[in-house]
């Protein structure tokens, strides 16, 4: 037996879980893909986000809140041990609206969710004038915004780097360039890779992003996940002009303004398109007119990992007990929960979070 856990997938999700398990003294091997793999962890938007999550499933809103609340401690511990500042900022975030109707409709939904969460859903509705005081660069087409105080953002690439560094520092083995082809369980688990590598482990976590769609069914999971493309832009570094993030734009710690993101059902195609980029730029300029003069430095596409209802999946395999599927769309937001709380669920301790609503049972009728 090489390890207590073999983690299939070395992105933010897999590394967060690995980090949490290593902190508890577990022996961990992480099997990471190669440069041809779709890597959501290297292309995402970097929000640590609560609002709008779990509108139909309050437990998801709560799980996001628990992670957001644990993020500061997680980031500082990671920063201290690696010297890598993941640039977490949690001063709230905006949902910007271009019409009074959509603003009011969203507020009505938030009120319903807030009641289900026992009142823990701290947000303010800002009209144009009060929003201008907070964000002097906001354009006149924006009629208002919802400022949710539990929202924030971080530098997702530095998070990935810090996790990868610290997992190794804590004694985890990270094997890069491995494509896992099969998982068998003669006694303990054996994870087989295309280069002949075989890793033995007492338990297995499948956190391979889109790779789980293929590997999951071989391990007894439904894994009904699909790719959804998001195109993203980033500008030259600019003087501070956006103070809080939104889904439309955020100013990253390094000064550039990241503009996002499209939602496209185009299969395993992570290219950028001219209409995609133009649409993003137009929306960002509508929100922040000064961006019309900013220079774009890069554009890229990445693939989200979505379940049918958009919620994470946390499932132990019935065919292969000891194998767990961990997959979600919001690996950055949930990184702290995955690092701090998921190990209790994997270990089956009394402190395990209740993740029942995230099981695959919800996909039974299809």
């Amino acid at each position: 037996m090489d390890a207590d856990y073999a983690i299939i997938g070395g992105g933010v999700v897999g590394l967060s879980v690995a980090w949490g398990l290593l902190k508890r003294g577990k022996r961990v091997v992480v099997l990471d893909g190669d440069d041809g793999a779709f890597r959501a962890s290297r292309g995402n938007f970097g929000l640590v986000w609560v609002q709008s999550k779990g509108m139909k499933q309050p437990r998801y809103a709560q799980w996001s809140q628990q992670s957001a609340a644990a993020w500061a401690g997680f980031a500082s511990e990671l920063g201290e041990s690696t010297g890598c500042d993941v640039a977490l900022e949690q001063k709230g975030g905006y949902d910007l609206h271009f019409s009074e109707e959509t603003l009011q409709a969203t507020v009505a939904q938030y009120e319903m969710l807030k009641a289900k969460l026992g009142g823990n859903y701290p947000y303010d509705v800002l009209g144009q004038n009060s929003l201008r005081k907070e964000e002097p660069h906001i354009g006149s087409k924006v009629v208002g915004a919802i400022l949710h105080h539990q929202d924030g953002h971080a530098n997702p690439l530095r998070l990935l780097k810090a996790l990868a560094d610290d997992v190794r520092r804590l004694g985890g083995r990270v094997l890069n360039g491995r494509i896992v082809t099969a998982v068998s369980k003669p006694d303990g688990f054996r994870v087989h890779c295309d280069d002949g590598t075989v890793v033995g482990a007492a338990k297995v976590v499948l956190s391979a992003g889109l790779g789980a769609a293929k590997l999951g069914p071989k391990m007894g999971f439904k894994a009904p996940i699909r790719p959804q493309r998001g195109q993203v832009l980033i500008t030259e570094k600019l003087p501070k002009m956006i103070y809080r993030p939104s889904l439309i734009a955020r100013q990253v710690d390094e000064g550039g303004i990241q503009i996002g993101a499209t939602n496209e059902e185009v299969g395993l195609d992570d290219r950028v398109t001219q209409p995609g980029i133009s649409g993003l730029a137009a929306e960002a300029i509508a929100a922040y007119p000064a961006l019309a003069r900013a220079q774009l430095v890069r554009s890229w596409g990445a693939l989200r990992i979505l379940s049918p209802d958009g919620l994470p999946i946390y499932q132990q395999s019935r065919d292969m007990p000891g194998a767990y599927l961990v997959t979600c769309h919001s690996g950055i937001t949930l990184a702290a929960a995955h690092a701090r709380f998921l190990p209790d669920w994997l270990e089956g301790t009394g402190a395990a979070p209740d993740l029942e609503v995230f099981s695959e049972d919800r996909f039974a009728v299809s």
Binding site: H137, E236, K237, L238, P239, K240, M241, E254, G255, P289, A290, L291, R293, A294, Q295, V297
Partner: protein, 102 residues
């Protein structure tokens, strides 16, 4: 403005008058603007709006966005431009922390 430059001038084309940060410079017409400014002794093209640290051309091929200058109110990469008569070149985002992008 003219200081000793470690860069050699290779262009032999006729010189034209441009202005950098308000000061006149005579640069070879059609030369790469970033290269011509370096050869003319401009060491610091701008200061980054993030930390205020000085910046100059690095990659000379349009990738690094370090050689940014402002021409006619638009921030552009000097290494992607050619010298032309009458260019008015300013340092971008000069008003630190203000509405420089507007």
């Amino acid at each position: 403005m003219k200081t000793a430059s470690p860069f050699l001038e290779l262009e032999s084309s006729p010189r034209v008058r441009v202005w950098f940060d308000g000061a006149p410079l005579d640069l070879p017409e059609g030369a790469n603007l970033a290269a011509a400014l370096l050869a003319a002794g401009v060491g610091v093209f701008r200061h980054t709006p993030v930390s205020g640290a000085p910046r100059a051309p690095f990659c000379m091929m349009g990738a690094c966005f370090e050689c940014l200058v402002e021409i006619d109110g638009i921030v552009r990469q000097a290494c992607m431009l050619e010298v032309s008569e009458g260019m008015r070149i300013a340092r971008p985002h000069q008003a630190e922390g203000s509405d420089a992008a507007q």
